[in-house]
């Protein structure tokens, strides 16, 4: 088992957002987590990546058998966890190349591998930038600065390709994308999909799941996974809307 989330409760500033999440992810699997706004999808993604604004009050997360919550965000990344941000941050003055070079080498150092020399690194960037149709000119530009929404999301997937994570969490990577950009991003993800990794796709809409076909779909509502199923569940959700889930939930005995 790559990832095991057990009975996870978490709050931000005293507001309880996650109320007992259970989720198991194996290598080679793609899981989609869907849900209406405010259901806790992004909170879950943020907690996995190690954002410090949240307080976990109960439960645990095991990643490769280790207690993930005890690892600093940078150590999670070095262990192979990657979060594609919903809102990628603009960092004027730090170039994409500089970010990736520092990241790749810190990760390699952590794993006891030699640092890449300039030539190896550049050929890695060149190879991976093709996956998401990213112009080489992007590399020398500041991280996400002045990028369009689509370019930012492509840049996230490009970083994912370069860092080659074991567990990738895509937080609403489809939001704000037109259909062409969506295809490019989804194609990139599909090419990275393998038996050696797992992907959690967090999304509000089913649209992205036409391109990245999930093995499992989970519906998150009011901080809990209320329904799990195969890819057909996503299509059913798209047709019936989230009210269907909300109504069902209300009918459940308390």
């Amino acid at each position: 088992m790559l990832l095991e989330i057990k009975n996870l409760y978490a709050n931000i500033n005293g507001n309880e957002i996650l109320k007992g999440i259970n989720l198991n992810v194996n290598l080679g699997e793609v899981h989609a987590i869907m849900g209406p706004n405010g259901s806790g999808k992004s909170t879950l993604a943020s907690i996995l990546a190690g954002r410090e604004d949240y307080e976990v009050t109960e439960g645990e997360i095991l990643y490769k058998g280790k207690n993930l919550l005890e690892l600093a965000p940078e150590d999670r990344a070095r262990e192979g966890v990657f979060l594609a941000f919903q809102y990628p941050v603009e960092i004027p003055g730090v170039s994409n190349t500089n970010l990736l070079k520092t990241a790749v080498n810190e990760i390699r150092k952590y794993r006891g591998e030699d640092e890449l020399d300039a030539i190896e690194f550049l050929s890695l960037l060149k190879e991976k930038s093709k996956l998401v149709d990213l112009d080489q000119k992007f590399l020398s530009r500041s991280v996400n600065e002045g990028f369009s929404g689509g370019e930012k999301k492509r840049n996230e997937i490009f970083q994912m390709a370069v860092l080659n994570p074991t567990l990738a969490i895509l937080d609403e990577t489809d939001s704000g994308l037109d259909i062409d950009a969506l295809r490019i991003v989804a194609n990139g993800v599909n090419k990275l999909r393998s038996k050696e990794n797992a992907i959690i796709v967090v999304t509000h809409y089913q649209r992205l799941l036409n391109y990245i076909i999930p093995d499992f779909v989970h519906v998150l509502y009011q901080g809990k996974i209320v329904k799990s199923g195969s890819k057909e569940l996503a299509i059913e959700l798209e047709e019936k809307g989230y009210d269907w889930i909300k109504n069902q939930k209300e009918e459940l005995p308390v």
Binding site: E74, R76, I91, G93, V94, T102
Partner: protein, 438 residues
Amino acid sequence: MNQNQLTFKELCLKNFEEFEKKLNGEKQLPIKDFREKSIKHLSNLDLPTIKNEEWKYTNVAFLNKEIFKVAPTKPDISAEHIDKFLFDKLEHSLITFVNGIYDSNLSKLLDIPSGVEILSLSEAIKSNNSNLSKLLGSFLDDTNNFFTTLNSSFINDGALIFVPDGKIIEEPIHLIFYQNSVSGKSLIQPRNLFVIGKNSQVTIIEHYVSDTETEYFTNSVTEIYVDENGILDHIKLQEESFNSIHIGRMDISQKRNTNFRSHLISTGAKFSRNEFNSRFDGEYAESMLNGLFMITGEQFFDAHTLIDHAKPHCNSYEHYKGILQGNSKGVFNGKVMVRQDAQKTNAFQENNTILLSDSAVMNTKPQLEIFADDVKCSHGATVGKLNDEAKFYLKSRGISEEAATAMLIHAFASDVITSIKIEALRDYLEKIISRKFN
């Protein structure tokens, strides 16, 4: 008499005679009158106090408790002491001053175009240089400035650069002021005068350095005049001892169509005050005043600027950035004055500060005074911490807390650094930042 009981002003006045006696053979020279007029004027001035609006955040009362040697001596210094302050792979002329005194062994002039004069003030005094007697003191107002008047009273050495019309000096002129005060605290008072003729161009680097522990007080004054169509690129670099005091002033007068670019890059001293006064005396001139200071521990740093738009159609661009750690205190006091005649002025001013600790303090006071009605002016200031969201983003890619912080500091400083034209100098500055924050 116990000098301990003297105020700073009394100490300076009392020691003036002793200082003059040491200057043999200058009795008949005009510079003697200049000094004596100045010391007389000094006796009518007082050390500024925090009641003075221009010194509100900058208290110099501590000077009254210290004893300084007003006539510093120059120890023999080997080139190694200076080498570490040179920029790799840069062809340049070098003029070195040790404790404010010109050192010919540590200086080296490249071939310069004919008619250009690059020399020390002490040489110019001895040779009774005509430009010196004609121009010294012409481009700044010292009526009410205690420290400028003090500098004039003890004027003795510094750098003179006279570029006649139509001369382009390709290689930068690097002035190093290396202080090494071994016995007692020296009061070191360099006086520089740069005059750039019509259609001429030059790059000047004023570099104040010392070894880490040494104690002294630098009170420097730089006067600059740029004639029509002239271009001056000026960089002031300050890397001084944490035990030193630095009060520096630079005044620049710009004629029509001139372009003045200035950078102040500083890792501070114990106490520093850097005053820049820039004045447009002709139309269609442009000036840039960029600054970056990085202070820590108990350091105090004050950047005090005035841009005087006295003529129409001029552009000024000012951007100062500060990075404060420890218990350090920073001040930015920047005034842009647009006089009634100065229509079609463009003035941009900004000050951004990053506080890396909870106990660092920044006082920032951007000011605009506009008396013309057809101008475009903006100013602003920010004081904050490093962007947490950006830091988390970097960490989430596997980058350590320390490396992420260093990257964001480099990034914050980068727009000031990249606006410097000399690559070797940019590399040197990146190394300073890396040493400080990596």
